[in-house]
């Protein structure tokens, strides 16, 4: 998913922040996306963990700078430090825990009021693996889950839009998909259900975000200044004065 053999390409930096209640699996989502692995998190989250991942979208290379914030309530007041200037946010909730959607909604509200006005927000219901015994959204995540050998990895064969209550193993589910989706549509968010454990939907999630980000706008405002963060010392002279909008000043 995330290889950039094309060395000539200058990655476009996208600051992305993950928010959501504690233990909904934010860190796991990032681990899945960045390392394509599911494990007990080895990166203790203090304030926020910072990871990067490159990602190809059509002919462009994006470099996600991911801020995986601490979910503990008391870190809430620190969150603005991480979501300011972010171009994208993934608000994660746990589909087996109704309260986590409420918290997600409150994050969305906060982002819409306090964050960068152009921020792309995606709502992601995690832990899909817990409710998909036989039912699941189609496995378009083949690329991501190729390395998976988790139990449910290959069970992804079901029709989209199926009402969740019909499935037998839905008993754990507390948030109906249509309900969350209706909310997301109303609030103008991207929406998907994912599983960090199986990898289902993870790459699609980040791809959808990438598609929705006004890349042209970023490129345009960035002007001539360019350079990858991996070799930032090659581009020491980014002209600050050109970037009136600091959110786009992500050239290194």
């Amino acid at each position: 998913m995330a290889d950039t053999s094309d060395a000539t390409q200058k990655p476009i930096q996208v600051k992305l922040v993950l928010l959501g209640e504690a233990a909904v699996g934010k860190s796991s989502v990032v681990m899945r996306f960045v390392n394509n692995e599911f494990q007990a998190n080895k990166e203790p989250t203090i304030g926020a963990a910072f990871l990067t991942q490159k990602c190809r979208l059509e002919d462009r290379v994006l470099r996600y700078e991911i801020w995986d914030t601490a979910g503990q309530e008391r870190f809430h007041s620190l969150a603005p430090m991480y979501y300011r200037n972010a171009q994208a946010a993934v608000v994660v909730y746990d589909i087996t825990k109704a309260a986590s959607l409420e918290k997600a909604k409150s994050w969305v509200k906060e982002l819409q009021r306090q964050a960068n006005p152009n921020i792309v927000i995606a709502l992601a219901g995690n832990k899909l693996d817990l409710v998909t015994g036989q039912a699941s959204t189609p496995g378009t995540s083949a690329a991501a889950s190729s390395a998976d050998d988790e139990d449910e990895a290959d069970d992804a064969t079901a029709t989209p839009g199926e009402t969740e209550e019909e499935a037998g193993s839905e008993s754990l589910r507390q948030v109906p998909k249509d309900e969350a989706m209706a909310y997301a549509t109303e609030a103008g968010l991207l929406f998907t259900e994912i599983s960090a454990k199986t990898g289902e939907g993870i790459v699609e999630l980040f791809t959808d975000i990438a598609k929705k980000i006004p890349i042209e706008h970023i490129l345009a405002s960035r002007g001539a200044a360019a350079g990858g963060a991996a070799n930032a010392n090659r581009a020491p002279a980014v002209n600050l004065n050109e970037t009136s909008d600091p959110k786009n000043a992500c050239a290194c």
């Binding site: 304030g47 809430h76 007041s77 963060a229």
Partner: protein, 985 residues
């Protein structure tokens, strides 16, 4: 809404004694039995000599702070001693035969001999000795001396330096130095505490760390300067800490240097007891802890093992039970994991307490204000000392704290290679929090030096983090790789970092940090509080019909009430019922009745008693919270979920239910409020209660028009109620026959007999123009959302003493306490010159004026006014001179109003007795004068006057006091005569 915390408002600068205890790392609250019945604290100049002058002598100050004896050298840096009295074995007067020298010889547990010359007057020295003797006796009687022997066995240093029984033999035993901890025999004899490192190996290469020679140096030091409980800190100690502690001694020295050893010493068995008492219990904290156990130093082998994980779990859990308000905060797991490598669970537990309570205050609290504050302080230090970095970061909008926050929160443990981080922790426990600032600061400046170009070309947070990571990862590399001299090539970056931090940047000292903290505290508190407010408002599910600003005012008033009467700790609602959905799981601040009364008093005019106090100099309104069954009724009425407590949302909903009401809905609301079983009928008792509620609301109104109205209401209600009764019998289908049979037998009605229905109530109300006006306009408007005065409170300097002390022309620059003193002083003066008067301010009819301004007077209102003015003409006003509550006049007026109000002056503080030239005047004459003053200054009809007093501001007050120019001469005379007493106050 989550939780609303007001504890930031309660911050107080430490008192002198607290500051002393902090300085000497003493437990904050010594047990009373250890302190003794009398105050033995003593402070005396002294010269400290160790082991008969083998070491340098230091002049300084000796403090007796039972149960500790402390000393600090004059420079407050070189020598420091904190000695539990129980570690002192013998005290003797040393007789040098020299006159004027008062010297004490102290024999300590570990056999050191401490000579202390008391350089003070003989009498002072004698007094000190007496106190010391008594304080020592208390310790002896408590058996503390015996505890020492058991306790020191838990310390590794006892293994390192074996001592023959010091009680029997004060001679030193010249045993050989046991460099490798004596795994064999010594271990068998003593049960010293140790960490996971003993089992899972310590991080780092022991050879590279030069464990052996470090241990040897420490052994020498500890032998001469005491150890564990008796450690003396001489300059050499700090130097040894700076080169890094040996792994085996690290845990013990951490607890000794930080002072947590004293907590462990004075609380034996407490840790185990907490674990026992809370075994099997769970809480939010335990759940949060569980999630983080596997991500706490996972690279250390001890935490890949269930044994290590269980150790960590127990310590964190025990602490969350010990300090439930703090509970658990991420980053504590990392710290604790680090501690546990070097120390036992019990040791780590008490060190965690010292960390959270003293060394990193407020870092892990629910608001994390300490973290935010120190980040702000750090930023300001960088701004001052590294302006280049600061300006660049400012330009490209990079925030320093994205990188520096974890440094401070986890003492660099997560940020740099462990072995280096532990050395910073060594220094931190020895020298205090300034170390974090110094290291953070020097790291930045080193990067600036090494790689300035890169640092100054950073464009975003991510690049900054990466650069910092890169630097910290390279700390093990040579600082001068190109140097020709192999010795300077061998210096690694980390060594240089520490060196620079402690040598060049000693400018960052405790005092400076304290000053900076003081400077930014208000700002941080304010931003946390406004953040919390925004979040609370955002999380409301409904605003009702309120605007966002109005909701903000409701929140402000709620917050103010919370400051005055803090709520119980937030509870996990419905937590204990298994199987319920977890939507209610999040803790939420809910207020109890006590807080609600204060909240309501802020909002509803009738829920407070307002006294207009004027004394010829100033006029102020003093508010007191009214207590009445009606307020309690409202509380339970708004508590729709029967939680016994109200949330912010409940308050918003409750206020929404009345503040926008018109005549009919107000009547409906009032009826429902008193209809306990909600069956649409009031019982006779409920009608009585409702009448009482009306009387309560009207208690402060001028004249007896309202009193008359209420009695008319009762007459009418009972008339109609009785008339309804026969019909009632038919309607009583739900009530069983036996009950109705009873009804007929008993002459009085049973308490649950439906009596008055809505329609009848409405009719009775509408029959009375005054009541109609009340329900139409006055009642909804008696709820007013007003901005909370925030001047002194918001800055967090003082707690709110008085509830909303409005007015006083000095209010802008006096604290609440001073204001109180000032007020009572001017009251006294006012009394003396016969200008003092206290008026109860009406709570209802003050709205009339506003009404008149806003719309043409309604017929009813005019009628109302007529009624009021009539009554004012015929009856005395309710003005009551204060200070003459015993006078016949006052009791008379009280008598007249007896059914209406509680005695107006009962709640008033008796005026402090001031010696004054007027004391010879008989009370009666004074009363007469006061009464005359009252008549003279009597308010005109409350309708005209009282309405706008809410808006009194400073200029009004100045005017008021300015009016009384003629009086100033008198005042001056009074002041002159009272000068002495004023000064004394």
């Amino acid at each position: 809404m989550a939780t609303i915390s007001t504890h930031l408002r309660n911050f107080k600068e430490p008192t002198k004694e607290q500051a002393q205890r902090l300085f000497f790392s003493l437990p904050p609250n010594p047990p009373p039995e250890d302190v003794g019945p009398t105050d033995y604290r003593f402070e005396i100049n002294a010269v400290l000599m160790l082991n008969e002058g083998q070491e340098d002598s230091y002049a300084g100050k000796l403090y007796l702070l039972p149960p500790y004896l402390c000393f600090v050298s004059l420079d407050r840096r070189s020598v420091k001693m904190t000695m539990p009295l129980s570690a002192i074995r013998r005290v003797e007067r040393v007789n040098h035969g020299r006159a004027g020298v008062f010297e004490l010889g102290l024999m300590l547990w570990h056999g050191m001999r401490l000579n202390i010359q008391l350089t003070a007057l003989r009498s002072t020295a004698d007094a000190f000795c007496a106190n010391l003797r008594d304080a020592l006796k208390i310790q002896l009687d408590l058996g503390r001396m015996k505890q020492v022997k058991q306790f020191v066995k838990t310390c590794y240093s006892e293994v390192l330096i074996p001592v023959s029984n010091p009680e029997a033999d004060n001679e030193r035993e010249d045993g050989s130095i046991m460099t490798e901890g004596g795994d064999g025999n010594a271990l068998a004899k003593t049960t010293y505490h140790g960490g996971l490192g003993l089992t899972f190996k310590f991080p780092g290469d022991a050879k590279k760390l030069r464990e052996g020679s470090k241990l040897k140096l420490w052994t020498t030091y500890l032998r001469a300067h005491g150890r564990n409980l008796t450690l003396l800190r001489y300059p050499h100690c700090t130097r040894l800490v700076q080169v890094g502690l040996p792994n085996r001694l690290r845990g013990e020295l951490w607890e000794t240097l930080s002072g947590s050893i004293f907590l462990r010493f004075s609380n034996p068995g407490v840790y185990e007891k907490i674990l026992r008492d809370n075994a099997g219990k769970t809480s939010t904290s335990t759940e949060e802890i569980e999630k983080d156990l596997n991500r706490s130093l996972p690279e250390y082998s001890g935490y890949q093992d269930e044994k290590g994980i269980a150790t960590l779990r127990r310590v964190l859990t025990a602490y969350s039970w010990k300090n439930p308000e703090l509970g658990y905060c991420q980053a504590m797991n990392i710290l604790t994991a680090a501690l546990l490598i070097y120390m036992s669970e019990e040791q780590a537990f008490w060190l965690l307490e010292v960390l959270c309570d003293r060394l990193l205050p407020g870092y892990y609290s629910p608001s994390m204000y300490g973290t935010l504050l120190d980040q702000r302080v750090f930023e300001s230090l960088v701004q001052r000392c590294l302006p280049m970095i600061h300006d660049h970061f400012h330009d490209v909008d990079v925030q320093l704290s994205v990188a520096s926050l974890p440094w401070f929160l986890s003492l660099f443990i997560n940020s740099m290679p462990m072995i280096f981080a532990f050395r910073i922790v060594d220094c931190f426990f020895c020298m205090g929090p300034k170390v974090l600032f110094q290291v953070g600061y020097v790291s930045l400046s080193s990067i600036l030096k090494i790689n300035g170009e890169k640092l100054l070309s950073i464009q975003d947070d991510g690049a900054f983090i990466s650069l910092m990571r890169e630097y910290f990862a390279s700390l093990g590399e040579s600082a001068h790789p190109k140097a020709t001299d192999p010795r300077s090539r061998a210096i690694i970056k980390f060594q240089e970092l520490l060196l620079v931090a402690f040598r060049e940047f000693s400018i960052i000292n405790d005092e400076m940090i304290e000053n900076e903290r003081r400077r930014y505290r208000g700002e941080i508190v304010h931003s946390i509080e406004s953040f919390a407010k925004r979040a609370a408002i955002r999380n409301l599910s409904s605003f009702g019909r309120f605007s966002k600003d109005q909701i903000g005012l409701i929140y402000d008033n709620l917050f103010k009430a919370l400051v005055v009467a803090p709520p119980p700790p937030p509870v996990m609602t419905k937590r204990l019922i298994p199987g319920t959905d977890d939507e209610m799981e999040r803790p939420e601040t809910r207020i109890e009745l006590k807080t609600f009364r204060i909240f309501l008093a802020e909002i509803a005019t009738w829920a407070r008693d307002e006294y207009v106090v004027s004394n010829g100099f100033q006029e102020r309104v003093e508010r007191r919270v009214a207590e009445h069954e009606f307020v309690d009724r409202l509380f339970f009425f708004w508590d729709i979920n029967h939680n016994g407590a109200l949330s912010f949302q409940d308050l918003v909903n409750g206020l929404d239910g009345i503040m926008f009401n018109d005549l009919m809905s107000s009547i409906e609301w009032f009826f429902t409020l008193h209809d306990k079983d909600q069956d649409g009928w009031l019982t006779k008792d409920e009608v009585l209660v409702l009448s009482e509620s009306l009387l309560f609301i009207f208690r402060s109104e001028v004249g007896d028009a309202y009193l008359g109205t209420v009695s008319r209401f009762m007459t009418n209600a009972f008339e109609y109620g009785d008339a309804l009764l026969p019909e009632e019998g038919e309607k009583m289908s739900p009530i069983p026959n036996e009950v109705s049979a009873n009804t007929e037998l008993a002459p009085s009605l049973p308490s649950n007999q439906p009596y008055l229905n809505r329609a009848t109530f409405r009719m009775v109300v509408l029959a009375d123009p005054l009541l109609e006006a009340f329900f139409d306009v006055d009642l909804p408007r008696s709820f007013k959302l007003q901005p909370v005065e925030d001047s002194s409170a918001a800055r967090g300097q003082t707690g709110l003493g008085l509830l909303g002390n409005v007015g006083g022309f000095l209010s802008s620059f006096v604290t609440d306490d001073n204001k109180k003193i000032f007020n009572s002083f001017v009251d006294d003066m006012g009394k003396a010159i016969g200008k003092h008067q206290v008026t109860v301010r009406p709570s209802i009819n003050q709205h009339e004026r506003n009404l008149a301004l806003q719309e043409p007077l309604k017929e009813t209102t005019r009628h109302l006014q007529r009624l009021r003015s009539q009554s004012s003409l015929t009856t005395p006003t309710s003005s009551t001179p204060s200070g003459v509550s015993a006078s016949p006049m006052s009791s008379q007026s009280n008598l007249e109003k007896a059914p209406l109000v509680p005695p107006t002056s009962a709640g008033l503080k008796p005026a402090p007795v001031l010696p004054s030239p007027f004391t010879d005047v008989s009370p009666l004459a004074k009363a007469n004068a006061a009464a005359a003053a009252v008549m003279e200054n009597r308010q005109a009809f409350a309708i005209d006057e009282a309405g706008d007093e809410d808006d009194l501001d400073d200029s009004d007050l100045a005017e008021l006091s300015g009016d009384d120019e003629g009086m100033m001469a008198e005042v001056d005379a009074f002041l002159e005569q009272n000068d002495a007493s004023v000064g004394a106050r």
